[in-house]
């Protein structure tokens, strides 16, 4: 599975788990498996709960301007009036969740937060996925020293705990912006996706349905596009769903460490929790409770959905 003269022990284990995922999702092939999995998914209450959670947050994110009572960056005189570091006004008429430390409407910031948080999570996941898939596909397709190089690089990246790698990457940039956070969190996931895609492609090259297609004289390009890619992508989609939860949590952790987006107007849950939430925890813990709850629920939603999809695709559960 791994390239010649494998490097790191660390990665061996992560690699093994990725390979397991590949084995589970890529053997037994094609459309009927996916249709089967879809049917099982719809009957699985866990999947439904996950999907409903995600959908709920998606709707809030899309319709934030309609749902939110106020502009998330506007400071309100009635809130700033008595505002001190020791006194942040709670719920009042017109401001159901009270004020944030700068006299802005907390409820509106929470609602707009869905947008920014999903934006960070989706983008970080997508960038990681695209780079990883590209890298994995190149390694798999070109082979030779390119493959070796790519695999060694991913080994090294997997040797560092993901958050530590993200910290390092942010530290690399001279100053933080929203994009350094997104990119750092995205890059952490590149080796995972790269290995996943490459491994899945290699595994399938030898699988029965691809051999059968080849024996029937189906053209190489057709085999790759119609037979191999769809199967590899199911594994990638499962991983992406699970990655999303991790991405949001990592972004929040970076904010907490002071490496987050410095824009004080930005309403993003990780930022709200990691900066104001913990700073004013003793004054007004709600500033932490609400974004934390939102993060837990949305991470939970993606984890539930991802694991249900994985379970549904597992040929073991095919009865």
């Amino acid at each position: 599975m791994s390239g010649p003269g494998g490097i790191a022990t660390l990665a061996d284990h992560k690699r093994k788990r990725i390979d397991e995922l590949i084995a589970r999702t890529s053997d037994a092939g094609g459309v009927s498996l996916i249709r089967d999995a879809g049917r099982r998914l719809l009957r699985n209450p866990t999947a439904i709960v996950g999907a409903v959670l995600i959908l709920l947050f998606l709707i809030i994110a899309i319709f934030a301007p309609l749902v939110a009572p106020h502009d998330p960056v506007q400071r309100f005189p009635e809130l700033t009036k008595d505002l001190t570091v020791d006194n942040i006004p709670g719920a009042t008429a017109g401001h159901p969740l009270g004020s944030d430390p700068l006299g802005r409407d907390f409820a509106s910031r929470m609602i707009y937060g869905a947008r920014q948080t999903l934006f960070v999570g989706v983008l970080a996941t997508l960038i990681g996925l695209l780079l990883g898939v590209l890298l994995g596909a190149i390694a798999g397709a070109v082979g030779g020293w390119v493959d070796v190089l790519v695999m060694r690089l991913t080994d090294v990246m997997l040797a560092l705990p993901s958050l530590l790698l993200a910290i390092t990457l942010v530290a690399l940039a001279s100053r933080s912006t929203q994009w350094t956070v997104i990119i750092a969190v995205a890059v952490v996931n590149v080796p995972i996706f790269a290995r996943l895609l490459r491994g899945s492609m290699l595994a399938q090259r030898e699988s029965d349905h691809v051999l059968a297609a080849r024996a029937l004289g189906v053209r190489q390009r057709h085999i790759v596009l119609r037979h191999m890619l769809p199967n590899s992508l199911t594994a990638v989609i499962v991983q992406a769903t699970l990655t999303f939860a991790v991405a949001i949590l990592d972004a929040a952790a970076l904010s907490f460490l002071g490496l987050g987006d410095p824009d004080i107007n930005r309403a993003e849950w990780g930022l709200m929790l990691g900066v104001d939430g913990v700073r004013y925890f003793e004054v007004r813990p709600e500033l932490a409770y609400f974004p934390a709850l939102a993060i837990i629920l949305v991470a939970l939603g993606f984890t539930l959905l991802g694991e249900s999809i994985r379970e549904a695709l597992d040929p073991k559960n095919r009865r």
């Binding site: 060694r152 080994d155 907490f256 939430g277």
Partner: protein, 335 residues
């Protein structure tokens, strides 16, 4: 077996060399290069010139690279920008604190995780099992620094059960032998210091243990369920063996195999979690060192040493895990 270890050690060396190379070029790719990183942007051209020559940055790149490798191998990472002390001194001072915390977290995660996962599997589909699944799902979905603040708020502010921060109360444990405060107290017979240090350890350790604990519970549960379905368990039943014998001898041993691997992988999560946990509880270990090294001006000499250290710890722990795996699973031993 010896060959496996040797091969792994070579792999370790290769990974480290690649990593060091990346770190080397990373430092040189910084805007203004490492000299600016060390001096800041306001330094005069003269100082800059001086330092460039002193550090050998006027030499060809391959000479620099060679000297860099030599320094790393001899543990000479230069001086911290923040404090001016040698990097190795700074790190070895913070090292015991983090190890103490991480060990406590691992003990909690393994000591609670395996029994709880096992119990959940035995009660499959019933209340206990479902409750466990929900709690562990929340455990991996919660930002652990938030959980840290939550525990701190409930158990040190609302109820004065635990101390809110630090490793030991002031005035206690003045004799520093190993740097592991719980152990130091025992060695110097200051039992009150040991107990106090242990008391300080409880909340941070539980906070840090959250994610590994949740994951170990889930893996153990899934693994036990897999094993219960195995044919050899049916054979054991057909032999008429007693329930406890089957569980101890046949189920647990096989079910632990994937758990052992997981424990190795979780050291990664532990290192990352330590950064967050130490900040919450003002712990003063390597995690705090990382936070301090990136806050304000970035302390690159310390950072690069910490990155290499993290990789070494992770790789070595997983090597040990592999070896213990070979002890449990005869199939690996032979290969």
């Amino acid at each position: 077996m010896v060959r496996v270890i040797l091969r792994r050690l070579i792999q370790l060396a290769v990974t480290l060399i690649v990593l060091m190379t990346l770190v080397f070029f990373w430092l040189r790719s910084l805007p203004g290069g490492p000299v600016d990183a060390l001096l800041g942007e306001r330094a005069t051209p003269q100082t800059r010139e001086l330092l460039t020559r002193a550090l050998g940055y006027d030499q060809p790149i391959w000479v620099q690279y060679g000297r860099f490798l030599e320094n790393v191998v001899t543990g000479n990472f230069g001086n911290s920008i923040r404090t001016g002390e040698p990097v190795m001194d700074v790190i070895s001072r913070s090292f015991p604190a983090t190890i103490e915390l991480a060990l406590a977290a691992i003990i909690i995660a393994v000591g609670l995780g395996i029994p709880l996962g096992y119990l959940a599997a035995r009660h499959r589909g019933r209340v206990l099992d479902n409750a466990t699944i929900i709690v562990t799902l929340i455990g991996i979905s919660i930002p652990i620094f938030f959980l840290g603040y939550l525990l701190k708020d409930w158990l040190t502010q609302s109820v004065h059960l635990f101390p809110p921060s630090g490793r030991i109360s002031t005035g206690l444990g003045n004799t520093d032998v190993t740097g592991f405060f719980v152990l130091d107290g025992l060695l110097t017979r200051e039992l009150d210091a040991s107990a106090d240090a242990l008391w300080h350890l409880v909340l941070p350790a539980f906070t840090l243990a959250t994610i590994p604990l949740a994951i170990i519970i889930r893996i153990t549960r899934a693994s036990v369920l897999d094993v219960l379905d195995e044919d050899y368990i049916r054979t054991a039943d057909a032999k008429g063996l007693r329930g406890p014998t089957i569980r101890r001898r046949h189920v647990l041993r096989n079910a632990l195999l994937p758990v052992v691997t997981t424990i190795g992988l979780q050291t990664g999560a532990l290192l990352a979690g330590a950064v967050l946990t130490e900040k919450v509880y003002n712990w003063g270990g390597l995690g705090t060192l990382i936070t301090d090294s990136i806050g304000g001006s970035r302390d690159y000499p310390v950072l690069q040493a910490l990155i290499l250290l993290a990789a070494v710890v992770f790789i070595v722990v997983n090597l040990l895990v592999d070896l213990s795996y070979a002890i449990i699973d005869p199939r690996v031993r032979v290969k």
